[in-house]
C-alpha cells in the first residue's frame, strides 16, 4: 500500500469531523458530546429497496399468525441473528392503478402510494406516464420530524443509492418530495462522504503538500530582491496560517462516532457494487449514529435493474433472469443467490445498527430504535404482479410486535404506510397517498 493511501486512512481515523465542516456544524449540539443528548427516544426509519420481485416460495415462511414464532427460509438465512426483531408482511398489495407499466408504478408508487401523473415515458406496455403524483412516506416522516425542534436533524433525510444509473425517470426514483418532485439518490460514496463530512479529505491532502509549497516559496524568494520578496513573504505567512487552521480544526469537534473509512479511489462500476454497498451502509449507520438524519433510504439499482452480479458468479442481467418462467431451475438458483445477497446486505445493515449503542440510553442499540423496511417494486418478477410485495421489517423504531409473519390477504400498502407513520410518532396522519386505498386505516401491527 502506498504511503499516500496509508496517510489518507490514518487521517480519516485521526481527523474526526475536521476543518471543513466547522463552519456549518458549529451550533449543532447533536454532534458534540454525550451530555447534550436529549432524553427523548430517537425513532428512525430506513427504507431499503431491491428490484425485480422476489421468489415467493423462498421468501414467504410456511406459517403465518400472531402466535407462531417466525421461521426464516434459507434465502433469508442471513437475517437469523435478527429473527426476533423481524416482521414479514404478506398480503399487502400496491393497488395503485392508472398510467404507466407495472415496473414504473411498482417503483414510483411504492413509497408514494398514489397514481403517476400523465406523461411521456413509455414503459414495456400500458400507457406512458410521468412522475408520481405525491410525496413518498419516507419524506412524509421526514417532514414530520423536521417540523419539530426535538426531532429535527441537519439533513432531515439522506437518500443513498447503490449502482443506480445516472438518469431520472419513474423507474429510477422512489423518493418524492411531492408531486413531480423526485429525489435523486446519491450513489457515489465519495460524494456522500463529502456531503456528510465536508472537504476533510481534501484538506488533509492539502496539508500533506503545504510543506513543499513553503519550501518552494522560500527557494524562489531567496533569489529575489527584498522589494520583490515581500509578496512571497505574505504568501508564505498565509500558507503557514492555513497549515495551523487545518491542524487546529482537526483537534476540535470530535464526532460521537468518527466517520467510516471510505476508499476514495473506488470506481463506480458494476463489479465494485459489493464494496460500494458496504461503504454506503457504513456511511448510513454513521449518519444515524451522529444524528445527522433520522430518515434514510438505500436504493439498490432500480426497477428493471439489469445488474450483472458477477461477484455472485452470475453473468446474466438481473431483470432478464427475473422474467424466466418458474420452471427454470437455473434461473431460480441464480435469483436465489441474488436475493440472498440482498438479504445479506440488509443483515449487515442491521448488524451495524445493532452493534452501535444508542447514545444516552444504556443497554439499547441503534437497531432498537430504527425501523428498517426492505421492499421491492414487484411481488414476483415473471408475473409483474404488484400484489404480495415482499415487505420485510427489521428493528424496533416503530414499536411493531416482531418475530412473526402476518398475512393481510390483500390490504392496500397505503395502510402499511399509515401504520409505519403512526409507529414513528406521526399519529395525525389519517390517509396517505390515494385516499381511496386507505379504507380501514392503518393495519394493526401492535
Amino acid at each position: 500500500m502506498s504511503t499516500a493511501f496509508e496517510s489518507r486512512r490514518r487521517f480519516l481515523r485521526d481527523l474526526g469531523v475536521g476543518a471543513a465542516t466547522m463552519p456549518f456544524l458549529a451550533g449543532l449540539t447533536s454532534l458534540r458530546a454525550e451530555e447534550s443528548i436529549a432524553p427523548q427516544r430517537r425513532k428512525r426509519l430506513v427504507v431499503m429497496f431491491s428490484p425485480n420481485g422476489t421468489l415467493p416460495d423462498e421468501f414467504w415462511p410456511d406459517e403465518f399468525g400472531d402466535q407462531t414464532p417466525l421461521k426464516l427460509k434459507p434465502m433469508l438465512q442471513a437475517l437469523e441473528p435478527f429473527r426476533e426483531q423481524t416482521l414479514i408482511l404478506k398480503g399487502i398489495d400496491n393497488k395503485v392503478r392508472g398510467d404507466g407499466d407495472n415496473h414504473m408504478r411498482g417503483m414510483s408508487c411504492l413509497l408514494t402510494a398514489t397514481e403517476l401523473n400523465p406523461g411521456n415515458i413509455q414503459g414495456g406496455g400500458h400507457t406512458p406516464a410521468g412522475w408520481a403524483g405525491g410525496i413518498s412516506i419516507d419524506q412524509e416522516v421526514r417532514r414530520f420530524f423536521q417540523s419539530d425542534d426535538r426531532t429535527k436533524t441537519r439533513f432531515g433525510s439522506l437518500e443513498f443509492g447503490v449502482a443506480v444509473p445516472n438518469r431520472a425517470d419513474p423507474w429510477t426514483r422512489m423518493c418524492y418530495a411531492g408531486s413531480d418532485r423526485p429525489i435523486a439518490p446519491i450513489d457515489d460514496p465519495g460524494q456522500m462522504f463529502e456531503k456528510l463530512y465536508g472537504g476533510a479529505q481534501d484538506r488533509q491532502t492539502v496539508a500533506s503538500v503545504l510543506d513543499r509549497i513553503g519550501d518552494d516559496l522560500a527557494r524562489v524568494s531567496s533569489k529575489l530582491s527584498s522589494a520583490d520578496r515581500s509578496l512571497l513573504q505574505e504568501h508564505l505567512e498565509s500558507v503557514r496560517k492555513l497549515e495551523i487552521d487545518i491542524a487546529a480544526a482537526s483537534g476540535e469537534t470530535q464526532l460521537l462516532h468518527p466517520e467510516p473509512e471510505i476508499d476514495p479511489n473506488i470506481e463506480l462500476v458494476n463489479d465494485n457494487t459489493p464494496e460500494i454497498s458496504r461503504m454506503q451502509i457504513e456511511l448510513l449507520v454513521n449518519a444515524l449514529a451522529n444524528d445527522m438524519t433520522r430518515v434514510a433510504s438505500l436504493q439498490f439499482m432500480r426497477s428493471v435493474g439489469q445488474a450483472r452480479m458477477r461477484w455472485l458468479d452470475i453473468q446474466d442481467g438481473h431483470h432478464s433472469l427475473s422474467h424466466e418462467p418458474d420452471g427454470n431451475e437455473q434461473a431460480h438458483a441464480k435469483l436465489m443467490r441474488i436475493n440472498q445477497w440482498f438479504a445479506g446486505e440488509l443483515a449487515f445493515l442491521a448488524k451495524r445498527l445493532a452493534e452501535t449503542p444508542e447514545p444516552g440510553r444504556p443497554g439499547e442499540s441503534l437497531l432498537d430504535n430504527t425501523q428498517i423496511v426492505w421492499l421491492n417494486e414487484l411481488g414476483k418478477g415473471n408475473s409483474h404482479t404488484l400484489d404480495n410485495i415482499p415487505f420485510l421489517l427489521v428493528g424496533g423504531g416503530a414499536d411493531f410486535r416482531t418475530g412473526r409473519a402476518l398475512d393481510f390477504d390483500g390490504a392496500a400498502h397505503n395502510r402499511l404506510w399509515l401504520a409505519l407513520a403512526h409507529g414513528l410518532g406521526h399519529r395525525d396522519l389519517q390517509t396517505f397517498g390515494s385516499a381511496a386505498y386507505c379504507e380501514g386505516g392503518a393495519i394493526d401491527l401492535g
Binding site: 499516500a4 419513474p170 509578496l231
Partner: protein
C-alpha cells in the same frame, strides 16, 4: 506635433461633487497618464530647504494635515505618498489649482512653487528608494484562464491539435474544422416506443432554438406521433459570469452543457443512459403540461462550450421546445446562431473558487496581495481542479485500457506533463523525481496520488506567479513565452508558443511579435480586448434604468441590446485590419438591430407603406434574424463613434434627463485625457429647485458658476454641452425644454489654446490630434495588458509608445503586440541614471 503640456493631476481621494443615487461620482479619481519630467526638473535645482525654513512651516500649516509630516499620507486625508515621478512644473500646477483642497486660492504663485520644490526634495526623495515590487501573482481572471488552459491542454481535441499543428492557427479551439457553421446541428429521429433514436430521418443546422411543431411532424420524413431531435454544437460565451438557461416544453427534453463529448452518438433509449454525464436541465419526464425549467452556470468569457439538447415527443398532442438564455449583461433571449456553432469544442474547466477581488487601487487589477483569504481560495481552486482531473483522468492522461505498471508509468508521465504546462517551463530534476513519488506505484491508489500532485502543482509559486525572474537575470525562452501569453491572453502559452520557445525562435523582437500577431487571432485575445474597453469606458456596474413614463420603450431588452451594440462596434473597429483608434472616436454609424433601429433610427426603419404578400413573407423570414446587428449610417454631425454611442450617453445621464457634467467628466478624463481634481464642495443636482423653463445647459451653468467650481467645470462643461443634442437615452434631439439645444462652446485646451466646439465630432477630432488623449489611451491600455504601470518599466515609455502609436496610424492591434513583445523580452535600453538634483 504640439508640445505636451503639464497635466493636472488629481491627488485627492475624495468622493463628492454631484451626488447621484446608484452612480459613481463623476469626480472619483481616474488614473491619469504619467509624465516623466524628472530630468528636466533636475535642472531646476535650488537651495535645499531645511525643515526649519518658512516653506517647511507652510507645509506644516497647509499640507501636513492630509499628507502627513513625512509626505507618506494620512489615513483621514490623502492616503498615499507623493508620486515620485511628477515634475516640478506639474506639482506646482497641482498646488496652484487644487491645493489646499478647502481653498485652492490659499496657495498660489511663488509660494506654490517653493512648496513643490520642498515636497520634491525633502519628502519625495526621502521615500524614493523603495521601488515598486515587480513580482505579482496571477489575478483572479488570469488564474481562472490558466487553470482552464492547463487542464484544457490535455483534452482530446486540443491534444490532437498540439500534435498535428504546423503553425496554422485554428479559431475557436474546436475540432469542427471547415464544416463549422453558425447554429446547432440538429439530428431528427423517428422514434419507436422506448427507442427514441430509432432511425435518423433528417439533419440540418438550426439557427434558433425555438420550435413549435404543433401537431405536425418537424420534417416530412418523420411521423408526427413520436420523434426525437438532438441538437449539438458549441456555445460561445462572450463574458465571464453567470449564465442562466431556461428550457420550455410540454414534451421531454434534456440540456447538457460543457461535457466531454462522447465520440459515438449513443442511441437514445428510455432504458439506457449515457454514463457520467449530468444534465444541466433534466425535463425528460413530462407531466402532460407545458413546463419551464431553469438552471444557472458560471462560464469564462472568450471560450466555447459543448452543448447538447435532446428532445422527444411521445404521443402528446403537440410538440414545442424553446431554449432561452440570459448571459451576463443580457436579458432572456432565445439561443440563436449569434452564439452557437456546429463545432465540437472540448469541455472547459471553469474554476469556481471563491477568490477575493483583486486590488484595483491604481485603476487596474493587480495581483499584489497573498492574503489568507486568497490562500484559502487557491486551496479550494486546487482541490476542485484536482477533482476535475481525477474524474477525467482516463481521458486526460490517455489511460485507455492500460493496466498495471503501464498504467502507473503513463500516470507518472501525465503528472510531469501537467506540471510542465502549469509551470510554463521544463521541470527541474528534483521536480521530475518528486511528482511520481507523490503518485506512488500502487495502481489501486493512482487517483489519490494524482489528486495530491495536482494540488501541489496548482498551489506552487511556479504556477501562481506569472514571472519570478530575479532582477537583472536574463529571461529564459519559457519566461518570454509566458510573459507574452499573459500579456495577450491572461493565460498560459499554448503548445505552439511553447514549441517556438523551445526551438529558440522566440528571441528577436520580430520573432516575438510574429507570435504575438498569431496569438491575437485567438478568442482569448478578443476577450481580453473586451476587458480593456469594459474598463476604459467604465462599463461595469452601470445602471441604465430610466424613468418609465418619459422613456417607455427604454426597457431592459434595449439596454442589453445597446451593450451588445457597443461591443459589436468596438469589435468591428479593433478587429478590422486598420484597428484604428480614430475610427473608434469618429465612426458615423451605429450597430443596430431591429429593436434598436426603431428607437435610434426611426427614419430608416419606419415604413408605413402597405405591405404586399412578398414583403410580409420577407419580413417573416427576417424575423428569424431580428437579433442581427447591422451598421446603420448617420449624418457625420449626428454620430461620432463611442462618444455618441447611446449606451454611454445613457450611462452618463440622469434617469430623467441628460447630464452634461457626467458626460463632460467622462470626455475629459477618458477621451481627452485630462486630469481633474476632486470638487471643492459637494453639491447635489436638484432638478426641481430650478425654474421650470430652464434648459439643462442653463441649469448646469448656474450650478457651477462659482469660481471654485469653474477651475474644473470650465473644462468639463464645454465638453459635456457638445452632447446636449442627445437625450437621456442617447436619441438625437433638437430641443430641450421646448427650446433649441445649444451644443456650442469655447474650450480651453491644456496648452491654453481656445477651441470652438459645436458637436461631439469636434471633440473627437480634437482628441485624435491631442497627445494627452493618446497618452491616456496608451497608458490605460498598457496597464490593462501588463497589469503594471508603464513607469515601473522605464521613464518615458508611455511617450515612446504614444509616438509610435501615432506614426503607425493609431493601430490598436499593433500597439498591443508592441507592448506585449516589449514586456515579454524586456530588452529595454538601460534606464537612464537619475541625475542628482544638486
Amino acid at each position: 506635433m504640439p508640445t505636451p503640456t503639464p497635466l493636472r493631476r488629481c491627488t485627492l481621494m475624495l468622493a463628492g461633487c454631484l451626488m447621484l443615487a446608484g452612480d459613481k461620482s463623476p469626480c472619483a479619481p481616474a488614473a491619469p497618464p504619467q509624465a516623466d519630467a524628472r530630468q528636466a526638473d533636475a535642472r531646476q535645482a535650488t537651495d535645499a530647504e531645511s525643515p526649519a525654513t518658512p516653506v517647511a512651516n507652510i507645509y506644516r500649516q497647509k499640507c501636513e494635515r492630509c499628507h502627513g509630516a513625512d509626505g507618506g499620507g494620512t489615513p483621514d486625508g490623502y492616503s498615499k505618498p507623493f508620486q515620485p515621478d511628477q515634475s516640478l512644473e506639474e506639482l506646482t500646477t497641482i498646488i496652484v489649482e487644487t491645493m489646499p483642497e478647502e481653498d485652492p486660492q490659499l496657495c498660489v504663485g511663488e509660494e506654490a512653487r517653493q512648496l513643490a520644490r520642498y515636497i520634491r526634495r525633502q519628502l519625495i526623495s526621502r521615500s524614493e528608494p523603495a521601488p515598486e515590487p515587480r513580482i505579482s501573482r496571477l489575478t483572479v481572471s488570469q488564474y481562472r484562464n490558466a487553470v482552464a488552459d492547463v487542464i484544457g491542454h490535455f483534452a482530446p481535441s486540443a491534444r490532437q491539435r498540439n500534435e498535428t499543428s504546423n503553425g496554422s492557427a485554428r479559431r475557436g479551439g474546436g475540432a469542427g474544422g471547415d464544416s463549422e457553421v453558425p447554429g446547432l446541428r440538429g439530428d431528427y429521429y423517428q422514434s419507436a416506443g422506448m427507442n427514441k433514436a430509432h432511425r435518423l430521418g433528417h439533419y440540418r443546422s438550426d439557427n434558433r432554438m425555438e420550435f413549435d411543431f404543433g401537431s405536425e411532424a418537424p420534417v416530412p420524413s418523420l411521423t408526427a406521433d413520436q420523434f426525437a431531435i438532438i441538437w449539438q454544437g458549441a456555445l460561445s460565451a462572450d463574458h465571464t459570469g453567470n449564465y442562466e438557461f431556461r428550457l420550455s416544453t410540454e414534451n421531454g427534453a434534456r440540456l447538457y452543457l460543457n461535457f466531454d463529448p462522447t465520440p459515438d452518438r449513443r442511441a437514445l433509449r428510455d432504458d439506457s443512459s449515457v454514463a457520467g454525464q449530468q444534465a444541466l436541465i433534466d425535463a425528460w419526464v413530462g407531466s402532460g403540461e407545458h413546463r419551464q425549467r431553469t438552471a444557472r452556470v458560471f462560464l469564462l468569457g472568450g471560450r466555447s462550450y459543448p452543448i447538447r439538447l435532446e428532445f422527444f415527443k411521445y404521443l402528446e398532442d403537440d410538440a414545442s421546445i424553446k431554449l432561452e438564455w440570459k448571459p451576463p449583461h443580457g436579458t432572456w433571449q432565445v439561443l440563436d446562431y449569434n452564439h452557437t456553432s456546429t463545432s465540437q469544442p472540448d469541455r472547459v474547466f471553469v474554476s469556481q473558487a471563491p477568490f477575493p477581488a483583486d486590488d484595483r487601487s491604481l485603476g487596474f487589477e493587480r495581483g499584489v496581495s497573498a492574503s489568507p483569504q486568497w490562500q484559502t481560495a487557491t486551496m479550494h481552486g486546487a482541490v476542485q481542479a484536482a477533482s476535475e482531473v481525477v474524474d477525467r483522468l482516463p481521458l486526460l492522461a490517455e489511460l485507455n485500457e492500460l493496466q498495471g505498471q503501464q498504467r502507473v508509468a503513463r500516470t507518472h508521465q501525465f503528472v510531469r506533463d501537467f506540471a510542465t504546462v502549469a509551470f510554463r517551463r521544463p521541470l527541474r530534476e528534483d521536480e521530475q523525481q518528486l511528482l511520481p513519488t507523490l503518485v506512488g506505484d500502487d495502481v489501486a491508489s493512482l487517483e489519490s496520488g494524482v489528486r495530491r500532485a495536482v494540488i501541489l502543482v496548482l498551489m506552487s509559486p511556479s504556477f501562481l506567479y506569472p514571472d519570478l525572474t530575479p532582477d537583472g537575470e536574463a529571461p529564459t525562452p519559457w519566461t518570454v513565452a509566458s510573459r507574452l501569453s499573459f500579456a495577450l491572453w491572461d493565460s498560459i502559452p499554448d503548445a505552439q508558443l511553447t514549441r517556438t520557445a523551445a526551438d529558440g525562435k522566440l528571441q528577436t523582437r520580430d520573432q516575438i511579435q510574429s507570435q504575438a500577431s498569431r496569438m491575437l487571432r485567438d478568442p482569448r485575445a478578443k476577450a481580453k480586448m473586451q476587458g480593456f474597453f469594459r474598463h476604459w469606458l467604465e462599463l461595469e456596474q452601470r445602471d441604465l434604468a430610466k424613468d418609465e413614463e418619459l422613456y417607455p420603450t427604454f426597457d431592459e431588452a434595449v439596454v442589453a441590446d445597446l451593450r451588445r451594440s457597443l461591443e459589436l462596434f468596438i469589435d468591428r473597429v479593433v478587429w478590422d485590419q486598420d484597428s484604428d483608434y480614430r475610427e473608434l472616436l469618429r465612426a458615423d454609424y451605429l450597430m443596430l438591430n431591429d429593436r434598436l433601429a426603431a428607437l435610434y433610427a426611426p427614419d430608416a426603419s419606419a415604413d408605413n407603406a402597405k405591405l404586399d404578400g412578398e414583403e410580409i413573407k420577407r419580413r417573416a423570414r427576417r424575423r428569424q434574424f431580428a437579433s442581427e446587428f447591422q451598421p446603420v449610417d448617420f449624418p457625420p454631425e449626428k454620430r461620432s463613434g463611442i462618444l455618441t454611442h447611446p449606451y454611454l450617453l445613457s450611462a452618463f445621464a440622469y434617469h430623467n434627463n441628460t447630464s452634461p457634467i457626467h458626460r463632460g467628466v467622462f470626455l475629459t478624463r477618458n477621451i481627452v485625457g485630462r486630469a481633474l481634481s476632486p470638487p471643492p464642495m459637494a453639491i447635489a443636482f436638484k432638478d426641481d429647485e430650478f425654474p421650470k423653463e430652464l434648459t439643462m445647459r442653463e441649469k448646469v451653468t448656474h450650478l457651477t458658476r462659482d469660481a471654485a467650481c469653474m477651475s474644473c467645470h470650465s473644462i468639463i462643461n464645454p465638453l459635456g454641452f457638445t452632447l446636449e443634442n442627445f437625450d437621456a437615452v442617447g436619441r438625437w434631439r433638437d430641443s430641450d425644454n421646448q427650446r433649441p439645444v445649444d451644443p456650442t462652446s469655447q474650450y480651453t485646451t491644456a496648452a491654453g489654446a481656445t477651441l470652438q466646439l459645436a458637436s461631439a465630432r469636434d471633440v473627437a477630432n480634437f482628441a485624435v490630434e491631442s497627445p494627452s488623449a493618446h497618452r491616456a489611451f496608451v497608458t490605460h491600455f498598457f496597464e490593462h495588458v501588463v497589469k503594471r504601470r508603464p513607469s515601473e518599466f522605464r521613464p518615458g515609455l508611455v511617450d515612446e509608445l504614444s509616438d509610435r502609436f501615432v506614426t503607425e496610424d493609431f493601430n490598436i492591434q499593433k500597439l498591443w503586440t508592441q507592448i506585449a513583445a516589449l514586456v515579454a523580452a524586456q530588452d529595454f535600453d538601460p534606464p537612464p541614471k537619475l541625475p542628482s538634483e544638486n
